[in-house]
Symmetry: C2
């Protein structure tokens, strides 16, 4: 009998998640039946949404999340043994799946995806640039911001899994790109490796003044990963007919009250669009996003980086460090 | 020599405009030159935007606004004597124009429009349903909300010049329409005359509870004329992929601090679009909007109502009463 280790949501998060909020339990898995397969986690994903939607996860349930796993036993021809699969299996080491979507915590998830074998592409990329975060950047930026050549684009959370891809896509589209992140080291990466035009360290700079300097003609598109005061300040610099794609508000996820003092009239006087999205809106175009990002990756137009934490038992640590912005690019846990 | 009476912006508004903030001066008009015409105001418009943009009007300048005027002398063949014209001439009784746009206060205005003579259509309608407010409703609702048949639409400021048209267009498009306004008499008009499905009196009802009752399936489109707490409450009822067209925030115009406590994350989790606009965005389609509204008016699908204040000297009174929501439909001043 196969045993799976599973993180159970045990105590409601209060601020940043703590050891003890999630507790590892062992679970006996039944033998697989016809149509099922057994998969062993290789990489688990930690993403901001896991904190954002914590209130919707029932206590006592496995914690929500996706992973890349190796199929180690199969009675389903669509998921052959030895291949890799990505799926929203939750924070667990072993999973029995029938290849169909499952309802995990708060929402129905996409079906597990059998991963293609691509030369020079490690399977963990399918949790990042070739997975949900890559598609979040691709669709959430292009569809909502509709960037035009020569426009000025600001990205917050710029060194994260999504933001780092957004900024590079904006460069591909011929925009001037300003990245906001929280360390000089991240800034160096954005400027020297990813080709961003400007970097603002929100922890040390006066964002308002810095934007006046690096975006003297104003901001046309803002891809918002953080919310809070950053958004309020950037709004002041938005041009007429500016577009704000609201991907997340990570600055509020660990706060009791994440509301901001917002001047609604500024949307009218500058004709600004502000639109929130979830990437599943474009689930029927999932492959398009992955293929395009893969092409850009292979052409060297997109670069990526991962922050890998070793050990299933370090999931909480990896999760918290990602929420604190310690990661560069995609944060994953290697089992 | 023709003398024009002109309202001069004399004292910065503090809260609601007061007598003395705008002072009538007499101005000698020069004789008209080739290419010019002289027009005498018949109806002057009072609109919420005049208060919203007060801070951009320089003290000592004529106050901003549009009017319908009769051409009483002309040396411009495009503007023949005896015809009516609508133009952003400001709060004044007589105007010399060369038919070109002028910069008034804060922005360049459209050129004066020679009004067509339409049977049964009084010229004042070109300040309302067949003018800027009608086009604001037509484009601001249809283009931004993209309403679909069967959807639920909420309109605030529903008995105003713009809101009353938005609600009726929503009915034409097959939506369920909920109007929010501030008196039972307005509610009666919306329900009995204009065909709204539901009415909520924001002064006496608990908006949150009332919406749960009349919009049990949630709200798909919100056309926002008022901002403030009303917007916050309606956001709670918006459905996934809901669209908010932000036309104005009249609740904030007389306030020192019009900011609202806003939960940005709600835009993400429900994938809501919130977009502000100014009707001049669609100025190249101006005629389309007027023609469509005229057609609906002649077919009886759109109804309109005016609140007429008599006397040029009563402009401020009419302006304040409109800002207080005392008007039904379009507020105009008959000279």
């Amino acid at each position: 009998m196969v045993k799976s280790k599973v993180y159970i949501y045990t105590k409601t998060f209060d601020g940043l998640p703590k050891e003890g909020d999630l507790v590892i339990k062992e679970e006996d898995l039944p033998p697989i039946k016809d149509g099922e397969f057994l998969a062993e986690a290789i990489y688990l994903s930690v993403d901001p949404y896991m904190r954002a939607y914590a209130s919707r996860v029932p206590l006592g349930a496995p914690y929500i999340g996706s992973q890349v796993a190796k199929i180690i036993e199969s009675k389903n021809p669509d998921y052959p043994m030895g291949r890799h699969v990505s799926g929203y299996f939750g924070w667990r080491s072993h999973t029995v799946s029938n290849g169909k979507p499952v309802t995990l915590g708060f929402s129905s998830t996409p079906a597990p995806i059998l991963l293609p074998v691509v030369k020079d592409v490690p399977p963990s990329y399918f949790l990042g640039i070739l997975g949900m975060p890559g598609n979040t950047a691709y669709f959430g930026f292009l569809e909502i911001c509709q960037p035009k050549k020569g426009e000025t684009v600001v990205v917050s959370g710029a060194a994260g899994a999504v933001g780092s891809v957004v900024g590079q896509i904006a460069k591909i589209k011929g925009c001037t790109v300003i990245g906001i992140a929280g360390s000089e080291e991240k800034g160096k990466w954005l400027l020297d490796e990813l080709g961003f035009d400007h970097f603002i360290n929100y922890k040390t700079a006066d964002l308002d003044k810095a934007l006046s300097q690096v975006a003297p003609k104003g901001v046309d598109c803002y891809f918002d990963n953080v919310g809070g005061e950053t958004t309020i300040t950037i709004l002041k610099h938005m041009n007429e007919l500016g577009r704000i794609s609201v991907c997340g508000t990570i600055s509020s996820y660990n706060e009791k009250d994440g509301r901001i003092l917002f001047e609604l009239f500024s949307l009218v006087s500058k004709q600004i669009k502000m639109e929130g999205f979830l990437v599943h809106r474009w689930s029927d175009r999932y492959t398009e996003g992955v293929q395009q990002n893969l092409k850009w990756l292979q052409e060297g137009k997109l670069k990526t980086r991962e922050t890998v934490t070793e050990g299933f038992e370090n999931m909480i640590k990896a999760f918290v460090e990602m929420l604190q912005g310690k990661n560069f690019g995609k944060a994953v846990v290697k089992v």
